[in-house]
Each structure stands twice: as structure tokens, then as C-alpha cells.
């Protein structure tokens, strides 16, 4: 009895130590990956804009100033003004807050629901797995953006519903990813040993399985944040996402369409902002994937 207890304990320290060394190895690889560094830098600038918006731009980004509408870029308004005379720079800076909020909220929904469900589906298998997977199939019968669109049609427009709709559309992918990883980890000897020594299921899942599926979850989360920003911008552009006057990049582009003939700058800059925000998450995600992959040399 005592022996088993000691063995399990040893096993745990081993796993933790392995994780620490593989973690620092991945971190070293990530630091050497130039693309990931560029992504990280963009991401820092983006988060800086989101948090520092009130410092970087004085005034209300949603307050109209009709005497200054549709001004091209000038010294006073670096990126020009929109149809209501609002500074585009100010709206883009405050828009960074909105998009970051959406990205975090969306992956929050995906992680909080998708990961536990995926863990349970993969670990228990059998009927539980079958039911969960058929349910997932149902959601995967639609391309992601369309699923979000359908959910918005039910829930209605606005920031909160945008986050919920896109978040739900991300859940099935998390479930599939986590389940797939659990299926391989479940067969490892250390899981079998833990089970044989009578460790409780929930303890095995949290202590032994979850740490080993964290890497793919991290990569997927980084890429998903980029997708979430793109989806939210798409919904905003269609007029069924975040509603004006909230400075959301997609809805800025949506309203700019009517004025792009004479003043193309109105439609240009919000798109550039979306592009760099998504690019930063994609670069970082790709870098993380390489860093976690034991086969990659970089």
C-alpha cells in the first residue's frame, strides 16, 4: 500500500519535471523563431493600443463633429475623419479594445465549454463519447462563420451576442481537438499506472491528461483569437455584429462603403488594423506550433 503511494508520488514529480524541461525547451525555440517574435511584437503593440487608448487619444471617439466630416489624413487627424467627422485614428485605437475583448471572450467560451467536454468525451469513450461526438457533428455541419451568423440571427445583434455566437461556433473545434489528443494520451503507461493505483478519474484527467494536451490547446487558442477577430469584423461589416456608434473595426468598414468613392481612406485604415491584429495571432500561433513540435529543428 505504502509502495504504491510512493510510486504515484514519484511519477507525479517526474511528469512535472518533464513538463518544466519541455516547457523551457519550447520557450527557447520560440525565442529563436523570428516570425513568432514579429507576431509577439505586433501583439504587444495591439494590446498596448487597446489598454492605452484613452492616453493615446484624448476625447470621445464616438462624438460626431459634422463640420469636419470625411477629412483626408492631416496633421490634426492623422488618419482622417469619417462621415460623422470622428477621428479614424481614435476609433481604431478604441476599436482595438473592442476586438481584443471579443477575441478573449470568444476563446473564453470555447475553452470553458470545449475543453472539459473534449476531455470527458476522450477519456470516458463509449456512449458518452458517441453522444458528444454526434452533437459536435451537428454543429460541424455548418462552416464556422455561417454557424455564428445563424446564432446571431437567433440571439440578435450587439457586442455580447457577437461574443456568444462566435464563441459557440468555436466549441466543436475545441471538443474535437482535445478529444483527439486525449485518445492518444489515455493509452500512455503513466495514465494506466495512475488508474491501476486507484487514482480518481477527475484527478487523472486534471493532473495527468490535461498538462499533456495543453500545447495543442495553446496553439489553437492563439489561431482562434485571430479567427474570432475576423468573424466579429465580418459580422460588424454586415451590420449584424457590434452596433455603431461603438468603434468596432468591421462596422467602421461597413459604414465606410457608402463613402469610399471620394474618400478611400475611410475604408482603408480599419482594414489595415484588422489585418495586423489577426496577423499577430497567426504568427504567434505558428511559432508556438513549431516550438511545441519536438520534431522541428528551429
Amino acid at each position: 500500500m505504502n509502495d504504491t503511494a510512493i510510486n504515484t508520488k514519484d511519477n507525479n514529480t517526474d511528469t512535472t519535471q518533464d513538463l518544466v524541461t519541455s516547457g523551457s525547451r519550447s520557450w527557447a525555440k520560440l525565442k529563436r523563431n523570428k516570425a513568432a517574435l514579429v507576431g509577439g511584437l505586433f501583439l504587444l503593440i495591439y494590446i498596448g493600443c487597446a489598454f492605452g487608448a484613452p492616453l493615446l487619444f484624448k476625447g470621445n471617439p464616438s462624438a460626431p463633429d459634422l463640420f469636419n466630416s470625411l477629412r483626408p489624413p492631416c496633421a490634426e487627424h492623422w488618419l482622417g475623419t469619417d462621415e460623422l467627422g470622428r477621428s479614424i485614428l481614435g476609433r481604431i485605437l478604441y476599436g482595438a479594445r473592442i476586438s481584443l475583448m471579443i477575441a478573449v471572450g470568444v476563446v473564453g467560451v470555447g475553452l470553458l465549454i470545449g475543453v472539459p467536454v473534449g476531455l470527458i468525451s476522450g477519456y470516458y469513450g463509449g456512449k458518452t463519447d458517441f453522444v458528444i461526438q454526434r452533437f459536435t457533428d451537428m454543429f460541424l455541419a455548418f462552416p464556422g462563420f455561417l454557424l455564428a451568423l445563424a446564432l446571431v440571427a437567433i440571439l440578435g445583434v450587439g457586442l455580447k451576442n457577437t461574443v456568444i455566437s462566435i464563441g459557440i461556433s468555436m466549441i466543436p473545434l475545441y471538443v474535437r481537438l482535445v478529444r483527439g489528443c486525449v485518445l492518444t494520451v489515455r493509452e500512455e503507461v503513466y495514465v494506466e499506472a495512475a488508474r491501476a493505483s486507484g487514482t480518481k478519474d477527475h484527478y487523472i484527467i486534471i493532473r495527468h491528461i490535461l498538462p499533456n494536451v495543453l500545447a495543442p490547446i495553446t496553439v489553437h487558442t492563439s489561431l482562434s483569437m485571430g479567427t474570432a477577430i475576423l468573424f466579429a469584423a465580418g459580422l460588424g461589416f454586415l451590420g449584424i455584429g457590434v452596433q455603431p456608434p461603438t468603434p468596432e473595426w468591421g462596422s467602421m468598414l461597413g459604414s465606410a462603403r457608402a463613402y469610399m468613392m471620394g474618400t478611400p481612406h475611410v475604408a482603408t485604415f480599419p482594414g489595415v488594423a484588422i489585418f495586423f491584429a489577426v496577423l499577430s495571432f497567426n504568427l504567434l500561433g505558428d511559432g508556438l506550433r513549431d516550438a511545441f513540435d519536438p520534431r522541428s529543428k528551429i
Binding site: D137, M138, P143, A153, M260, I274, L279, N282
Partner: protein, 306 residues
Amino acid sequence: MINFLLKRLLSIIPVLLGISLLLFFMLRMLPGDPAQVLAGQMASPEDIEMIRTQLGLDQPVYIQYAAFLKRLVHLDLGRSARTQNPVTQEIWARLPNTILLALCAITLACAFGIPAGIIAAVRPYSWVDYLVTLASLIGISMPVFWLGIMMMILFSMTLNWLPAGGIGTWKHLIMPSFTLAAFVVAFIARMTRSSMLEVLSQDYVTTARSKGLQENLIIVKHALKNALIPIITVVGLQFGMLLGGAVLTETVFAWPGIGRLIVDSILARDYAMIQGTILIFGLLYTLINLLVDLIYAFVDPRIRYE
């Protein structure tokens, strides 16, 4: 083969049932009376009452679902609250436009993506490879509707080469197809590159090289043929993604397809139409996945579906 075909056809039935369940509960999740919602804001009390009896809303849920399925099988999706026309008729009128646009886009995406991926894989870590990688990253990160707007500003407003929107001549098709293709070309190029890289390191490629075969022949006949399966998978998946992108592209270019119909219906709260368009998208996506599976069997004779 026929056996496999039948089995695969039967396997889409649960998926279709899933889609129908989702659609069925969609309307029930809305606050308020589904009959009122389906009939629209302007409907008279008699209309609402008629819809209520038609839908059997006074019956138990499972009977309602059975009736809903029966109507689906008969392709009766109700009438649009906005135009008063049958939903199927409206969808039917626009479906060919969306399919035409999607087919043009996927053809363009393959025509650019597959060669780009092959070139990158043949010279890994060269400047061509980095260029392809960079271009795909840009493609993946760019909002498709913004690219559409930028193309419109350049090609129709500044240069006056192409019509800004609408449908009619082949010229109207150019910008929407390129915009939509940009959305997926990156994924196809990436997958082609990694799949080709894997195949090119196989022993039989080395053997072919040591036999003195021409490099072009090795790449096309030996490598590409074996690298095709993952490429086809990704093309199939991306074709589904195209349907999502079509919603945005059709809105930018005022292209009269299903994508725009769904947005207009959501804005007008025309729920019968929303239900119908979502059903069609689900159906199309399922059929594409089926088609991809069938193509596998043709491309790779090693795949035997027993």
C-alpha cells in the same frame, strides 16, 4: 464501390437529421410566438392563426418535429415574410449564382495555390518558399471583405477597368472570384507544401532520382500523385469555408446569391427565409464532404471502402 457509395449516402442521413433538429429548435429558441415570428410584423391575425394550425403549434413537440420533417422532405419551407414568395423559389433563383461564384473561386484558388505549394516544397527554405509562406500568411490574416473593397477602389473607381458590382458579363465575375479565392488559396498552398515535402523525402522519390528520371517527371508523376489526398481534403474543406466567405463577398459586390439573401433576411427578421438559407448551406456543405470522400477513392486506388 457501389456498396461504399450506398453506405456513404446513408451516413449523411444522421447529419441531415442533425441539421433539421438545429433548424427546428432555432425558431423555438426565439422569444415570443413562432407563428407570429414566421408570419412577420405585418401579418394579419388570420394569417398568424393559419400558420399556427399549419405548423401544428398546439401539438406535442415530437409531432411538431415530425410535421416539420415532412414539410422539409416536400421542400416546403414556407413563405418569405419580406417578399411573400415561397422560400424555395427565392433560394432556387439565387443558388446558381452562388455556385457559379464558388466554383470560379475554388478553381482560381487551386490554379494558384497548388503550383505555389509545389514550388515552395521543391525548394524548401529558399526565397521562393519564404515568399509563398509570407503570401499565405497575409492571405489568411486579411479580412476578405476589405480585400474586396480595396480591389473595388483600385479596379473600378480609379482605373475604371471592371464593374463595381452586380451580375451580367464575365467581367462582373472577376473581382468577386478573386476576392473569394484569396480567402482559401493560402490554405491550399500551405497544405500542398507540407504534403509535398513529406512525399519528396520518401524512398521511392530517391529511387526515381537515382534512376536519372527528370525532376519534373518525378515531381508530377511520383510525388504530386501521392501528395494529393491531403490536398483534396483541404480543397473540400475550403470549399465549405468559401460558402461562409460568399456571404461577405456577395454583400461587397452586390452579387445576387444565397449569401446576400441570408444577410438581408437576418436584417429583415425574415425567419422562414433564414431557416431555408441555412438549410441550403448545410446541405451544400454535407454534399461537398461526400464528394470529397468519393474523389479519394478515384485518386487513391489503395483506399478500399469495405
